[in-house]
């Protein structure tokens, strides 16, 4: 390997000085970086932030050894990213700038602004404090710090509030599940097999997650089972009229009320039921059934029973949190045909 020529040697030799001139004009990384920076600043002024990012990136790629220039390139790219609302990229660039020049106030400001935008208040405070160590009475940093403290407190308060509310909801759900368990109500839900396909055989939910899913407590709905203040369950109950393809829903059927109490309202003499043209669905004629799923049978019961009495029958299963009952009319031929389909008479 030959020795590097000294400056005197270069000055003395026209060849060497020519080579040096070329190298500095075209290949000097710092010179190039500087040019890209100027280009970036020009685009930035024109608010062409994407082009500015590109230009600064080219400048950074030169990997020149001037730390101040690198700090400026990163800080400027951070500014461009900030205007593009790429706050994370902006934040990362500002932090890189600080690695080149730890006391670069512009980069510190950028870090603080990005953290505030990203609602990362703890880090915002850290950057405020490191800035204040450099310039102790920097007014805008003092203000930003106060803002960060304030917003951090609000954020923490909201988190505490959310946690507390979630806890309350869970406690309420657990009370509800316990009430259902105490009454030995047979809950069922669709089971999913290994292939994620619904299985024909419904399953009995046992885990907390399954129970919540089965009773649809995870979706806010007015048709969920609830526990009243007096400790009574209120079920969303659906009555099906297969003859007319109709149904009725009572959103909160209190477990201690009897079926007949609702029927009196639903089949009030004189009130017209639009789909019951033949007027066969009257208090005297109607029969109410639940389906015994396992055996594929319909089971009828006396409407003087309360809902709790019916649901405590182990043959009566509640699917997805909603008890279903079938209503037929003794005065209609449909009843016999329908029961016949179930192999019953």
């Amino acid at each position: 390997m030959t020795k590097e020529p000294t400056q005197e040697e270069i000055d003395a030799s026209p060849t060497l000085s020519a080579i040096q001139a070329i190298k500095y004009a075209e290949n000097d990384p710092e010179e190039l970086a500087l040019e890209h920076k100027e280009d970036g600043n020009y685009q930035f002024k024109k608010k062409m932030y994407r082009l500015a990012v590109k230009a600064y990136t080219e400048g950074i790629k030169q990997k020149c050894e001037n730390t101040d220039l690198n700090a400026v390139l990163y800080t400027n790219r951070a500014a461009a990213h900030f205007h593009l609302e790429n706050f994370l990229s902006s934040f990362n660039d500002a932090k890189r700038a600080l690695r080149f020049k730890p006391d670069h106030m512009k980069a510190i400001f950028r870090c603080v602004d990005c953290c505030l935008k990203m609602r990362n208040y703890a880090e915002a405070l850290q950057h405020c404090d490191s800035g204040l160590q450099i310039v102790p009475n920097e007014k805008s940093l003092l203000e930003k710090r106060a803002t960060a403290v304030k917003q951090k407190k609000a954020q923490e308060r909201d988190a505490r509030k959310g946690k507390l509310e979630a806890k309350k909801v869970k406690a309420k759900q657990e009370k509800l599940l316990q009430a259902i368990k105490d009454r030995n109500v047979q809950l069922r839900m669709t089971a999913t097999g290994e292939d994620n396909q619904a299985s024909v055989h419904p399953k009995k939910p046992t885990s907390y997650e399954d129970l919540v899913k089965c009773l649809r407590l995870d979706v806010m709905s007015e048709f969920n089972v609830t526990l009243s203040d007096s400790g009574a369950l209120q079920w969303p109950v659906r009555f099906l009229y297969p003859e007319h393809n109709q149904s009725d829903v009572i959103s909160a059927f209190e477990e201690n009320t009897r079926f007949i109490d609702h029927f009196v309202e639903m089949f009030k003499p004189g009130d017209e039921i639009p789909w019951d043209k033949e007027k066969t669905y009257t208090l005297d004629n109607i029969e109410v059934y639940f389906e015994e799923y396992d055996k594929g049978r319909l089971v009828t019961f006396n409407s003087e029973n309360t809902l709790q009495e019916v649901l405590s029958d182990q043959r009566c299963h509640v699917y997805h949190g909603q008890p279903n009952f079938i209503v037929l009319s003794r005065a209609s031929d449909f009843r016999d045909d329908y029961l016949h389909q179930y192999g019953q008479k």
Binding site: D129, P136, N137, A146, K150, K153, R157, K167
Partner: protein
């Protein structure tokens, strides 16, 4: 009589000889023997008295030894230093030596010094005396960057104190006691309360610092001392500092408050966890209540505290507190927070004229002066 005076004289000569061995150039065996002797003497009031005239020189000599490679030797050096500097009578004479204070400050701010906590404790013991505080503050003021390293002023001490993990080998909690002691002097308070800098704001979070009660007590004491500056109360309670929640939060418990009771309360105090614990140290609880009471001195202060519903927190605190002395001062505070405003001209409780005989009576009841950290860290 004669007999005792002879022994005294003999002791004196022995003592002088021993002290001369407390130097880096002395043979390690001799040095250790001399140190052992000083540690022994420094453990008792009587021993300290016998060292009295030489004490400042001994402290200065010992401080030259703290960078010795023998760790257990340095441990003993600090044992002696901590004891010697707890002797209030000579503290001002010790702090008069700028070299002593400078050395302590530079070891505290040296982020790799293993015994920085010990240095803090020495300085904390020295600064219990107000006169010594004056010397220390003067020294902090005089520190020029021409000492080579960075300038060590009060700002630097606060920075070192607040920077988590500044010294991986020392947590610097006892520096809180130093800051507390220094704030017995108005010039230190003026710095902590500088409105153009962010000093007190950085100390505030430490009222909740569960990892060290020394740090908590130090910060709360400093805050209390700062509240003796009545003119700053409005600023302290404003959004710029927002001191109130930092004083109330350690006194707030897990009680679930109604939404309308929380209305207007600082957000930090809303929806506290069900396992929220109160400040466990009754002495710190007392300091917090004292500080809150101090902030009730002026009418705007009381009004701001009323608006932020400090009363609700104190009401719950009073129900929980079992220490009767604290119940008493808490109830006095509650009176300020719910009571009617005093008649015009009497609003500033500090300026209300109290008849001399009453004042004397009150003074006896409540000795109220800026205080220092009372812990006796010495005599081990």
């Amino acid at each position: 009589m004669r007999h005792s005076s002879t022994t005294n004289k003999m002791d004196e000569t022995v003592l002088d000889e021993f002290v001369s061995f407390l130097s880096q150039s002395a043979k390690p065996a001799l040095r250790e023997k001399a140190l052992e002797y000083v540690v022994g003497l420094s453990g008792s009031e009587e021993g300290l008295r016998s060292l009295e005239t030489r004490l400042p020189n001994i402290v200065a000599a010992l401080l030259e030894l703290v960078e010795d490679a023998n760790k257990s030797f340095v441990e003993d050096v600090f044992k002696a230093l901590i004891n010697l500097c707890s002797y209030d009578k000579t503290a001002p004479k010790v702090t008069e030596k700028e070299a002593v204070v400078s050395k302590l400050l530079s070891t505290i701010c040296d982020s790799s010094f293993e015994f920085a906590d010990h240095s803090c404790t020495v300085l904390s013991n020295l600064s219990r005396n107000s006169h010594s505080c004056g010397h220390i503050l003067a020294c902090l003021e005089n520190q020029k960057s021409d000492t080579g390293g960075t300038m060590i002023n009060l700002a630097k001490l606060v920075e070192v104190f607040c920077k988590e993990g500044y010294n991986p080998k020392a947590a610097l909690h006892p520096l809180g006691s130093v800051l507390a002691n220094l704030t017995q002097r108005p010039e230190a308070r003026k710095f902590i309360l500088d409105k153009d800098q962010c000093v007190i704001q950085r100390l505030l979070p430490y009222t909740q610092y569960t990892a060290s009660d020394v740090r908590r007590r130090g910060v709360v004491t400093a805050l209390k001392n700062c509240c003796f500056e009545i003119d700053y109360h409005e600023w302290l309670l404003s959004d710029s500092v927002d001191i109130l929640p930092y004083l109330l939060l350690p006194l707030a418990g897990p009680e679930q408050l109604d939404e309308d009771e929380m209305e207007g309360m600082p957000e930090d105090l809303q929806y506290l966890d069900e396992d929220k614990e109160r400040e466990p140290d009754p002495a710190i609880r007392k300091l917090l209540i004292d500080t809150l009471t101090k902030l009730c001195t002026t009418k705007p202060g009381r009004e701001m505290m009323k608006a932020k519903r400090a009363y609700i927190i104190m009401r719950e605190f009073d129900k929980w507190e079992r220490n009767e002395q604290l119940n008493d001062i808490c109830q006095d505070l509650i009176q300020h927070l719910i009571g009617d405003e005093p008649s015009p001209g009497m609003e500033n409780l500090e300026q209300v004229e109290i008849p001399t005989e009453m004042r004397e009576k009150f003074d006896k009841l409540t000795a109220e002066n800026p205080r220092v950290v009372d812990e006796d860290l010495a005599r081990n």
